[in-house]
C-alpha cells in the first residue's frame, strides 16, 4: 500500500492497471488524454500486460472493446464530450450485448461554443443507453470506483457495462493524495472469471445480434436489461460494503448521506460539488443551520427507494445539476421529482443549474444556496423555477 499524489486521470489509469484490464482501446480527447497516455506507458514499460488498440475514432474504440469483451477478457476505454457523442451507437450495442466493459467518462461539455471544461451533460445524455453510471467526487473515489465497477459489471446477475464519471480538469487534471492498495487485495476483490453468456470461440461458432421480429423476444430482452439494473442496485451496495471491509474506505452506496439525519435542508448533487457541499454543511452547522449533503453516486440505476427514504425525513432538497436539458432543466432534479411524486410527506424540491461549461462553483455559492432554501421555506414554501447559479 502506498500513497501517491495523482491527477484524477492517473488515478483512473492506476486503477485500470491494478484491475488487470487485458484489452484497452481509446481515442484521446481533452481532458481524458492523461488516462490514455498513462495506460500506454504502463503497457510499454511492462507494468500492465494488455493489448492496446489505437483507433481512428471513439465509435471504433467501443466497437473494439465490444469485440474484445466478447472473448471474455476484461476491457477498458475512456472518453468524454464529443467523443462520447460520436461513440453513442456503439454505447447501446455494448449494453444490449450485456458486456461488462468499464469506461471512464471525464465529463466535459459539448460545443459550440468550443469548451473543454467540466459538465455532466455528456454522460447524462447517455442516460437511456443501458449503462450503469457512477459519478465520483474526488481522486480516491475515482480510483476505488473503477475497481468496484469491474465487480459490479461482471456479476452474473448484472452483466451491464459501467461508466465511471469524473469531472474534466476539476478532478482529471488536479492532483491529490490517492492510496493505492496492495495488488493481492485487488486481485482477491475482483478475481477474473470470464462470463459465459456470450463468448466468441472459433471452435464453437455463434452469431449474435440476430434479427428479432416484433412478436419475438426483443421487448423481453429490454425487460431483462431493466431487471439487471435492479440487480445492479443490490450489487452496488454489496460491493461497497465488501470494499470497505478489505480497503477500509466507503464512498457511500447508491447515495452517500452527510449529516442528513436531522437536516431541514439537504443539498443533493453529483461529482465534485457533492464533496464541497460537505464543507458548506459544516460551515452552516457551526452557524446553527440544520443542513445536510447528499451525494448521488449511481445515476443509473437510479436509487429511488434510497432517495425517498432520505427525502421523508427532511423539509427541503436543493438539487444542484451540473447539466442542462434545455426546455426542462437539470436531469437530477427531474429524476428526483419523478421519484418523489405521489408519495406522502415529501419535501419541497428546489432546482439549481450550476457550473455549466466548467464555470467554477465556489464553497460560498453552495452555502448561499442552502441559505436561500431556508428563505423559500419561510416565505411561501413554493420554489419559483430554476435557480441559475452565478448567471451573469
Amino acid at each position: 500500500m502506498e500513497t501517491l499524489i495523482l491527477t484524477g486521470n492517473h488515478a483512473v489509469a492506476y486503477a485500470v492497471k491494478m484491475a488487470r484490464a487485458r484489452f484497452i482501446s481509446c481515442y484521446p480527447i481533452t481532458p481524458q488524454t492523461g488516462i490514455v497516455e498513462k495506460l500506454s506507458e504502463f503497457i510499454l514499460n511492462g507494468e500492465l500486460e494488455a493489448v492496446f488498440v489505437p483507433v481512428e475514432s471513439e465509435h471504433s474504440a467501443m466497437a473494439a472493446c465490444i469485440g474484445a469483451s466478447l472473448t471474455g477478457v476484461r476491457t477498458f476505454t475512456a472518453t468524454c464530450s464529443h467523443g462520447l457523442a460520436y461513440m453513442h451507437e456503439m454505447v447501446h450495442w455494448a449494453s444490449a450485448t450485456r458486456l461488462p466493459i468499464v469506461m471512464a467518462v471525464v465529463n466535459r461539455t459539448i460545443g459550440p461554443p468550443w469548451n473543454i471544461w467540466a459538465e455532466h451533460g455528456d454522460s447524462v445524455s447517455q442516460r437511456d443507453t443501458g449503462w450503469i453510471q457512477l459519478y465520483t467526487s474526488n481522486h480516491q473515489e475515482a480510483f476505488d470506483t473503477v475497481i468496484q465497477a469491474y465487480k459490479i459489471a461482471e456479476d452474473p446477475n448484472v452483466l451491464l457495462p459501467v461508466m465511471v464519471c469524473l469531472e474534466g480538469f476539476v478532478i482529471s487534471h488536479t492532483a491529490q493524495p490517492v492510496i493505492l492498495p496492495n495488488q493481492e487485495d485487488v486481485d482477491s476483490f475482483i478475481p477474473h472469471e470470464p462470463w459465459r453468456h456470450i463468448i466468441v470461440d472459433v471452435d464453437n461458432p455463434i452469431t449474435h445480434g440476430n434479427l428479432q421480429m416484433p412478436e419475438d423476444w426483443f421487448y423481453e430482452f429490454r425487460f431483462l436489461m431493466h431487471r439487471a439494473m435492479d440487480a445492479a442496485k443490490e450489487k452496488i451496495v454489496r460491493c461497497s460494503i465488501e470494499f470497505e471491509k478489505i480497503f477500509g474506505r466507503n464512498h457511500g452506496h447508491l447515495v452517500e448521506e452527510y449529516k442528513c439525519d436531522d437536516a431541514d435542508v439537504i443539498l443533493l448533487s453529483m461529482g465534485s460539488l457533492a464533496d464541497q457541499a460537505k464543507v458548506a454543511v459544516d460551515v452552516l452547522r457551526e452557524e446553527g443551520y440544520k443542513v445536510g449533503a447528499l451525494k448521488l453516486r449511481a445515476f443509473r440505476p437510479f436509487p429511488e427507494e434510497e432517495l425517498r427514504r432520505v427525502a421523508k425525513r427532511t423539509k427541503c432538497i436543493v438539487v444542484v445539476d451540473r447539466n442542462l436539458s434545455p426546455g426542462k432543466g437539470g436531469a437530477l432534479a427531474s429524476e428526483l421529482k419523478a421519484t418523489l411524486y405521489g408519495f406522502k410527506g415529501m419535501p419541497i424540491v428546489i432546482e439549481c443549474v450550476a457550473g455549466l461549461g466548467g464555470r467554477d462553483v465556489t464553497l460560498e455559492e453552495e452555502i448561499g444556496l442552502l441559505k436561500q432554501a431556508f428563505r423559500v421555506m419561510e416565505e411561501d414554501g413554493e420554489p419559483s423555477g430554476i435557480i441559475w447559479l452565478g448567471l451573469k
Binding site: 499524489i5 459550440p112 488536479t174 492532483a175 493524495p177 460539488l273 464533496d275 464541497q276 460537505k278 467554477d360
Partner: protein, 303 residues
C-alpha cells in the same frame, strides 16, 4: 498553521508552473500535510499564454474543488505579468500574506501596491535558469527556482522535502539541475522593504473577466461569432522571453521568415527588408530556425 494554506501561481505556458505546483504538493504531503491539492488552471493551452495554478495545503483532507480566490501566497513566475497589471497578481491576496516575485530589477519594488501586512520576496529566477541552462524546448523553466523562493518566504516546506519531491519526479541528471536551481533561489531570495504608502487595503477576490464589453446575458446574441481582427488575444509580444533580431547586414531579403512566421507578425518594410512586429511576436524561434543566412539571432529580453 491552522486551516487551509492557499497558493496562487502566475506564469506562462511552458515555464513549468503546473509541474512546480505538483512538486510543491508532493513536498508538502511528505512533510505531513495530509491534505494537498495541485490545481492547474489552463486556458487555451498555449505556450507563452498566461496561466495560473493553485495549491491547497492542509493538516486535514481537503474536500474543496473550486479554484483559489483568496490566496495566502502568490508566486509570480514571469515578471512581465506584474508589469502588465499589479492588481491582477494581488487580487484576493490576504492581508499578512506572501508575494514572491521573479525579477532581476529592484526598481519594480517602488511600483508595487500590496495588501497590508504582506511580505514581499524577490528572486532572480530567470538568471538562475540561464546560468544552469534549465530549459525545456527553448523556454526557461522559471517556476522551479520559485519553489526555493517560496520555501524561503513561507517556511511552509523545507528544502529537503522539495529536494525529495524533485528527485522522485525526474531522472537523476535533470533532478540535480532542478534541485540546484531551487537551492540557489532559496539562498538568494531576499525580502523587499516597502514604503508605508505601498500597503493598501486588500483587493477583493474576483473571477477573471475576459470579455469586458458584455455585461449581462441580455447583451448576448444567440451564438457567439468572431470577426478577423488584429491581436484579438492581446499583445502576445509579452509572451516572449527571447526576441528575434534581424541583422540587416546578413539579410538578403529572401523573406523566408515572413513566409514561415506562424502568427504573421513579420511585415515587409519600404526597402524590402522583413520587419518584426514586436507587439505580437511570441518569440517562437521559427524564423530563427528557418533563416538560410543565419541573419536572425535570439536575444534575451529585458523585462
Amino acid at each position: 498553521m491552522s486551516g487551509i494554506f492557499e497558493v496562487r501561481w502566475h506564469g506562462r505556458g511552458g515555464q513549468g508552473v503546473v509541474t512546480a505546483s505538483r512538486i510543491l504538493a508532493v513536498a508538502a504531503f511528505n512533510e505531513g500535510f495530509v491534505g494537498v491539492q495541485s490545481i492547474p488552471w489552463i486556458g487555451a493551452e498555449r505556450r507563452g499564454a498566461q496561466i495560473e495554478a493553485y495549491n491547497r495545503i492542509s493538516r486535514t483532507p481537503i474536500l474543496l474543488h473550486s479554484q483559489v480566490y483568496a490566496p495566502d501566497a502568490v508566486i509570480v513566475v514571469d515578471p512581465s505579468i506584474i508589469s502588465e497589471d499589479n492588481n491582477a497578481v494581488v487580487r484576493g491576496l490576504k492581508s499578512g500574506g506572501f508575494l514572491v516575485i521573479n525579477t532581476a530589477r529592484s526598481n519594480i519594488i517602488s511600483s508595487l501596491r500590496v495588501p497590508e501586512g504582506c511580505s514581499v520576496y524577490l528572486v532572480d529566477a530567470t538568471s538562475i535558469c540561464l546560468e544552469l541552462d534549465l530549459q525545456v524546448a527553448g523556454l526557461e523553466v522559471l517556476a522551479m527556482p520559485m519553489l526555493g523562493a517560496f520555501a524561503k518566504a513561507t517556511s511552509l516546506v523545507s528544502l529537503k522535502s522539495l529536494e525529495e519531491s524533485i528527485t522522485s519526479s525526474f531522472e537523476a541528471e535533470l533532478a540535480k539541475k532542478n534541485v540546484d536551481a531551487v537551492v540557489k533561489a532559496y539562498e538568494s531570495t531576499r525580502k523587499a522593504h516597502l514604503m508605508p504608502e505601498q500597503y493598501v487595503p486588500p483587493v477583493p477576490p474576483s473571477k477573471p473577466i475576459r470579455i469586458p464589453e458584455i455585461h449581462h446575458w441580455t447583451d448576448l446574441p444567440p451564438v457567439p461569432v468572431s470577426t478577423p481582427s488584429k491581436g484579438s488575444i492581446g499583445n502576445t509580444g509579452d509572451w516572449r522571453t527571447r526576441k528575434p533580431v534581424i541583422d540587416k547586414e546578413k539579410c538578403n531579403k529572401c523573406l523566408f521568415c515572413w513566409m514561415y512566421c506562424p502568427e504573421a507578425t513579420i511585415n515587409i518594410d519600404d526597402s524590402g527588408f522583413p520587419q518584426i512586429d514586436y507587439n505580437y511576436c511570441k518569440g517562437c524561434e521559427v524564423c530563427f530556425n528557418e533563416c538560410p543566412r543565419k541573419a536572425i539571432s535570439m536575444v534575451v529580453e529585458e523585462k
